[in-house]
Symmetry: C2
Subunit: 267 residues, 2 copies
């Protein structure tokens, strides 16, 4: 079993209640990698037999640090219409809410389609070096990153001049794993924090909310397989302790997902 599947495994303990455990494979500083949290919340819906259609939108709010160990998730179907289905989730450790989430699902249909956006130009993945965190980050080891632009150096003490806020890279699970909504949700949070890129330094931060829109279906995921995903991320503003990030994830056959997030930073 791939580490991502093991790490996001949930046990049903009630009609709308699940339990799980954090995984050492997706550890980050001060709690798990936020992409693991996103994937785990989404899995609550993916595994539910009442699910109608594929995921279209996922919002995760990171409420409190998640301690290593067990947690419970309430996964409530709030409304199922003809076109869309809405879910509300909460992850709890004891009586502390560590994360909330909403998921919208819906069946994709063969109707008018139009794709005005195009992927940014990037060199072939084979020509770009494999990124390494130099043993300083566990979750990063679960991914193959090949940066064309905007990598970070985990050992750096900061840049004299601020750098551009954008990153352009190839990314996929390591070891390879066929892409599905679970891994796409995790990948949508696998861009390094924009403040690290701009300042070339690790500073105290935490993602506080993440929204990911899925633009593909089961057929699109099957066509992608375990091939590289092109990732592009940028930021508009770092202001008063809150920064944003906008990201795109492109497959070989088109846009797979777009994602936005807000990051809190201390100084």
């Amino acid at each position: 079993m791939h580490a991502l599947d093991a790490a996001t495994q949930l046990t049903r303990i009630g009609p709308e209640r699940l339990s799980g455990r954090t995984s050492p494979h997706y550890a980050n500083l001060g709690g798990p990698f936020g992409g693991w949290t996103a994937a785990t919340m989404l899995r609550g819906v993916l595994d539910d037999e009442r699910r109608h259609g594929a995921p279209v939108a996922l919002t995760v709010n990171y409420c409190a640090a998640i301690a290593d160990g067990g947690f419970e998730i309430s996964c409530r179907e709030r409304r199922t219409g003809k076109s869309t289905q809405h879910w509300s989730l909460e992850m709890m450790q004891g009586d502390r809410v560590t994360a909330t989430a909403s998921v919208v699902c819906g069946p994709r249909r063969p109707v008018w389609s139009h794709r005005p956006a195009h992927p940014p130009a990037i060199a072939a993945p084979e020509t770009l070096p494999l990124f390494s965190a130099g043993g300083r980050s566990v979750w990063v080891e679960q991914y193959e990153f090949r940066f064309e632009k905007g990598a970070i150096d985990f050992g750096s003490r900061g840049a004299k001049e601020l750098r551009a806020p954008d990153s352009l890279l190839w990314m996929r699970d390591r070891p390879e794993r066929p892409l599905d909504f679970l891994s796409l949700a995790a990948l949508s949070d696998a861009f390094f924090i924009r403040a690290f890129v701009v300042r070339d330094q690790l500073v105290p931060v935490g993602t506080i909310t993440l929204t990911t829109y899925f633009h593909t279906d089961e057929d699109g995921l099957a066509a992608q397989g375990s091939d590289y995903v092109l990732g592009y991320a940028t930021a508009h503003t770092f202001s008063g302790g809150f920064a944003d990030q906008s990201a795109q994830l492109w497959g070989r056959n088109g846009l797979l997902a777009t994602s936005t997030q807000v990051v809190w930073y201390r100084e």
Copy 2:
């Protein structure tokens, strides 16, 4: 009292329970303008004496058509930490969930700031014509829109060629009203549906989820006053019945908000 304030007024009926009524001023086809729903949900938090800091992020999920008349909102504080506060909301009509929402608040602090994004170039508002829906839309009458690019014609039967998905315009409440988080939330959904812009035609649609990030504070809002807000919106994809929108709202002194949404379309 401005129509927006009257339309979003809530009455406390319990510790975490509010009631309100839809407003004829913000009516849209098949229920109220989604920006009204967003503002009304946010107001539940803005009016709560437990609120800690200013709104940073708002996600609204549009679950079902909202009927004209009364509704109740549950507004639950889920977690208050040192840096952020998380709220979960639901709007109900009878036993039907019509919308869910999450709000993140937090105090902005005088720390390192950096604003790499810049507003798009646009002509002065006075030089651009005042938009009119020709009496075909009530909520549009509550706004002053002055388009440089990407307006729609409510009477059009469709374009022979698809148009660009982006709109660039000045926008503000009509009559003028000093900008606050309430009006900024509503404005973040006041861009016309991207499918209307691309196809130059009104087609059956519904916004299913909206996420707005606020990048300003009370001082920034006070400096803006009731001046025009520069709005820019675009879309990446229209695919299988779901389309996205990304938007920016700029004040005279910088970025006020960014916003993304997913729109369902029938055909």
